[in-house]
Symmetry: C2
Subunit: 100 residues, 2 copies
Amino acid sequence: MILEVATLDVRAGLGPSFERDFATASALIRSIPGYLSHELQRCIETEGRYLLLVRWETVSAHTEGFRKSAQYAQWKGLLHPYYNPFPVVEHYRRVPEGPA
Amino acid sequence: MILEVATLDVRAGLGPSFERDFATASALIRSIPGYLSHELQRCIETEGRYLLLVRWETVSAHTEGFRKSAQYAQWKGLLHPYYNPFPVVEHYRRVPEGPA
C-alpha cells in the first residue's frame, strides 16, 4: 500500500469554496482502480493550508491510472485553480516497526 | 481528533539507524494520554525523507502533554540528532465531506 501526500495551499479566502469543490471531486478519485481511501485535512496553524492523503494499491495506480484518466481532467479543472503555489506530490511507504 | 504532521529529513546515510531508533522511541509516544495512533512513512522519491503522522485526541495532548513530559526528553535525545533541517510540525483537523 502506498500513501500519496500533498500539501495544498489554497488562495486566500477560497477555503470554503475549495472544500465544496473537493467534496464533488472526491467522487472522481474514488472511481479509479487501485484507489483505497483518502482524507482531506485542514491545517490549524496556517490559514488556507490543507493536507491530502490518498492510499493507493500502487504508485502507478495514481501516476498512470489516475493522472491519465478522463476523471483527472475533471479533477484538475475543479481543483487546480485554487492552488498557489502548485503542490508537490510525493509517495510514501509505511515503515514497519515490528510488534507493538 | 487531531492529526499531527511532520516531514522529517534525516541526515544522509542515517535512515536505517533512524528507523531502528524510531521503533524504540515509539513506545514513548504511545504512553502519553490522548495519543491515539501513529505511522512513520518513508518517501519513495526523496532519499532520507519521512512523514510522521500522529493522531491525538486534542492539540494540547501533543503540545502540552507530550512535549512537557519526561518521555519527550528521551524522544528528543533519540531522534532530534537525525534531523536536518529541524522539522516544522503542524496540526490538522479532517474536513468532513458529507455522505460518501
